[in-house]
C-alpha cells in the first residue's frame, strides 16, 4: 500500500459520475460501486486506510464503510493473489461436479479455501451460487465466468494465468 492513498484522476471522474446517479445528499448510495473501484485500484483488497479514504471521498463516517465492506462477499478484507479463483460450490454446481473441480485446484495449487499460493499468484475462494447453474461447474476469474469446467480446462486456465495471458477485465 502506498503512503498516500488517492484515486487516479480518471477514477475520481468515475466516482463523481457514480455520485451523480443519486439525488443530492444521497451520495452514500455510491458506496458499494466506489468500493469496487477502490478494491480494483488499491491492490485487490480493502485495507482500513483505503476504507477511511473512501469515507472521506463520500463524506460519510468510516464506520459506515467498514460495516458495508465486511457484509458483502465480493470485498476482500485481506490481501489476495493476482488471480482469485472463485469456484461455485452450491447445489446445482455440486450436482455437476464442482467437488472434483475444487479438489483438483486444491491439489494442483496446494492451497485451501481462502489461501493464497506462496508466489502470490492464486487465491482460492469458494463461492456460493454465481448464477451459472446451467453451465456448471464454473468459476469466476476477475470480471468473467469460466463455465463447463473440467480438470483439463482448469489446467489450461491456470497455465494462461501463469503466462499472464488471461483477461481479468
Amino acid at each position: 500500500m502506498s503512503e498516500t492513498i488517492a484515486f487516479q484522476p480518471e477514477t475520481l471522474k468515475q466516482v463523481q459520475k457514480i455520485i451523480g446517479r443519486y439525488p443530492e445528499g444521497k451520495q452514500k448510495s455510491a458506496l458499494i460501486p466506489v468500493l469496487h473501484l477502490a478494491q480494483k485500484e488499491f491492490g485487490g483488497w480493502l485495507d482500513v486506510p483505503v476504507m477511511d479514504y473512501v469515507a472521506d471521498v463520500l463524506s460519510i463516517k468510516p464506520i459506515e464503510v467498514y460495516e458495508v465492506a465486511t457484509f458483502y462477499t465480493m470485498f476482500n478484507m485481506k490481501p489476495v493473489g493476482k488471480y482469485v479463483l472463485e469456484v461455485c460450490q452450491t447445489g446445482p454446481c455440486m450436482l455437476s461436479g464442482s467437488d472434483g473441480i475444487l479438489q483438483h485446484i486444491r491439489e494442483t495449487l496446494n492451497i485451501k479455501n481462502g489461501e493464497t499460493t506462496a508466489d502470490g499468484l492464486f487465491t482460492l475462494k469458494q463461492a456460493e451460487c454465481l448464477g451459472a447453474c446451467g453451465y456448471a461447474p464454473m468459476m469466476q476469474l476477475g470480471k468473467f465466468y469460466h463455465e463447463h469446467l473440467t480438470n483439463e480446462k482448469v489446467d489450461e486456465i491456470l497455465q494462461l494465468c501463469r503466462q499472464g495471458a488471461i483477461a481479468l477485465d
Binding site: S29, I32, Y72, G91, L95, Q126, C129, G134, Q140, F144
Partner: protein, 467 residues
C-alpha cells in the same frame, strides 16, 4: 432400460411448440444493439404506451394477469396500484436483477442478450408509475453485464427514448445501473433498497411497504427483470390477449432456467400449459436425463422451494399430469406439491444423494443469512452442521427430529422470507426422503464421503485473530 421406457413414453407426448414472447428474437444476430432491436419492432411498445395515460397502462397490466417472476408470484398490476402518490415526492422504479437463487439464471440471459427488452419495459413501467428515475440493481458478480446495460441505455437515450421530454411527450426518465457486491439477501426487496442506499443488506420490517416508503423513504416499486420485460409484449398484444396465453391464473409465458442432471440445461420460455414430464423429457426442452438414468427428484422453482420426488413431480396425488404452472406445481400444498418460484428448475438423477444436496443448500443459506434475526442466524448454521454430521456418518436418529424441529422454529419467525427459504428445503427433504437420512445413520461404515466435504467449511466466519 430407462431410455427405452422414456422413448416409448415420448411417442404419446403431445409436444407443442411453445409461444415465445420474450425470447422470440433472442436468436437474431446483434439483437443486443439498438438498431437491430428497433428493426424487430423494438420500442414500438413505448410509442404505444406514451399515447396512453398511466392509469390505463396499470389496468392493462392488471388485465394481463402478469404475476411477479422473481419468485413470489404476486400480481404485478395490483402491486403497481398500491404505489402511494403524495404530492411533490419522487417515485422510483427499481429493477431487481440480484438474481442469486441457486438454480436461477434467466435474468442474466435476458440482460446479456436482450438488454433493450428490459430498458423498453422499464420506460413503459416508469411512465405508468410516474417515476422519473429508475435503477437496475444488479448482483455484483454479473460484472460484465453493466457494460451491456449501459450501452443499451446510451443507445436508447441517443434515439430519444430516454432522458428529457421522451418522444416530445414531456415525460422525463433516467435509468441507472447499480452494482451490488455479493449478498443473496439483497434479492429481498427491502434489503435491496437498503443496499441501494449504501448500507448492509438487512431487510426492513414491513409495513411500511416499499410502495409507501421505499428508496430514500419515497414510494418505490421493486420488480424482477423478467416481470418488467414482460410488460413489453403486454403492451404490444394487449393485456387481454396476454391473459389468453397460459392457463387459469398462470397467464403469459414464463422463463425457466433448467439445470442439474439433464441433457440440455439452459433457459426456456414456456407458456405454462406443458406438463412437467414434457419439459424434462422432450427434445424441445431439457432432452431427458443423461445416460438413461432415472429421475429421482426435482426442485422446480429455485433452491428455496420444496424438493419433490419423481412420483409426485410428474403426477399430482390424484394421478393427473402435473403442469408447469403456478397452481399445478403447488397442488396439494407442501405435502405433495411445491412452487413455481423463480423458475430455477434443478433436476436430480437416481445417483444423487439428497442428504448431501440438502447439506449444500443449508450451507448456502447459513452463509447468506444477514444475521439480523436470531432464528435464521443461529438456526441455519445449526441445520447445516447436523446435515454434515449425517452426511459423514456421525448422525443419530434424533438428529432427523431435531432438524425438523429447527426448521419449524425458523419458518415464519424471521423478518424476511430467507428463513422460510432455508427451512423448506430441509423440511421437504425429510418429508419425502426420510429413508435416505435413516440409511445414512444406519450405515455409517458405508459412507466414504470425505471426498468433496472439504468444500463445506463452517459458513460462520470465525473472529479474526488480532495480529
Amino acid at each position: 432400460m430407462q431410455t427405452g421406457c422414456h422413448r416409448f413414453r415420448l411417442i404419446f407426448l403431445k409436444i407443442k411448440m411453445s409461444k415465445k414472447l420474450l425470447l422470440k428474437d433472442a436468436h437474431i444476430e446483434g439483437i443486443r444493439f439498438y438498431d437491430v432491436y428497433r428493426r424487430q419492432g423494438g420500442y414500438d411498445a413505448v410509442d404505444k404506451a406514451l399515447k396512453m395515460t398511466p392509469d390505463v397502462i396499470v389496468e392493462e397490466v392488471k388485465t394481463s394477469g402478469l404475476r411477479g417472476r422473481g419468485g413470489a408470484g404476486f400480481p404485478t398490476g395490483m402491486k403497481w396500484s398500491f404505489l402511494a402518490k403524495p404530492e411533490g415526492v419522487p417515485r422510483y422504479l427499481v429493477v431487481n436483477a440480484d438474481e442469486s437463487e441457486p438454480g436461477t439464471f434467466k435474468d442474466r440471459y435476458l440482460m446479456e442478450f436482450l438488454p433493450h427488452l428490459l430498458i423498453e419495459g422499464m420506460i413503459i413501467s416508469s411512465y405508468a408509475l410516474g417515476a422519473n428515475t429508475a435503477y437496475i440493481y444488479i448482483r455484483g458478480e454479473y460484472s460484465w453485464i453493466p457494460d451491456i446495460l449501459e450501452q443499451a441505455i446510451n443507445e436508447a437515450k441517443a434515439a430519444g427514448f430516454l432522458g428529457k421530454n421522451i418522444l416530445g411527450t414531456g415525460y422525463d426518465l433516467e435509468i441507472y445501473v447499480h452494482r451490488g457486491a455479493g449478498a443473496y439477501i439483497c434479492g429481498e426487496e427491502t434489503a435491496l433498497l437498503e443496499s441501494l442506499e449504501g448500507k448492509r443488506g438487512n431487510p426492513r420490517l414491513k409495513p411500511p411497504f416499499p410502495a409507501v416508503k421505499g428508496l430514500w423513504e419515497s414510494p418505490t416499486v421493486v420488480n424482477n427483470v423478467e416481470t418488467i420485460a414482460a410488460v413489453v409484449p403486454i403492451m404490444n398484444i394487449g393485456g387481454a390477449e396476454y391473459a389468453k396465453i397460459g392457463v387459469g391464473r398462470s397467464t403469459g409465458t414464463k422463463l425457466i432456467s433448467a439445470c442439474g442432471n439433464i441433457n440440455k440445461p439452459g433457459v426456456y420460455e414456456i407458456d405454462m400449459t406443458i406438463t412437467v414430464e414434457e419439459f424434462i423429457y422432450s427434445d424441445e426442452y431439457c432432452g431427458g436425463i443423461p445416460n438413461g438414468k432415472k429421475l429421482k427428484a426435482c426442485i422446480p422453482g429455485g433452491s428455496s422451494v420444496p424438493i419433490v420426488p419423481a412420483n409426485l413431480l410428474l403426477k399430482t396425488i390424484n394421478g393427473e399430469p402435473r403442469y408447469m404452472n403456478y397452481e399445478s406445481l403447488a397442488d396439494g400444498g407442501f405435502a405433495t406439491g411445491t412452487m413455481m418460484g423463480s423458475g430455477g428448475f434443478i433436476v436430480l438423477d437416481e445417483d444423487q444423494c439428497v442428504v448431501k444436496h440438502t447439506m449444500s443448500l443449508a450451507h448456502f443459506y447459513a452463509h447468506e443469512s444477514c444475521g439480523q434475526c436470531t432464528p435464521c442466524r443461529e438456526g441455519t448454521p445449526w441445520m447445516y452442521r447436523i446435515l454434515k454430521n449425517i452426511e459423514t456418518g456421525k448422525g443419530t436418529m434424533a438428529d432427523i427430529d431435531l432438524l425438523w424441529d429447527i426448521q419449524r422454529k425458523i419458518e415464519g419467525n424471521t423478518i424476511c422470507p430467507l428463513g422460510d427459504a432455508a427451512a423448506w428445503p430441509v423440511a421437504a427433504a425429510i418429508r419425502h426422503f426420510r429413508d435416505e437420512f435413516e440409511w445414512h445413520i444406519d450405515n455409517p461404515e458405508a459412507l466414504n464421503r470425505n471426498y468433496g466435504l472439504a468444500n463445506y467449511a463452517d459458513p460462520i466466519p470465525q473472529a479474526a485473530t488480532a495480529e
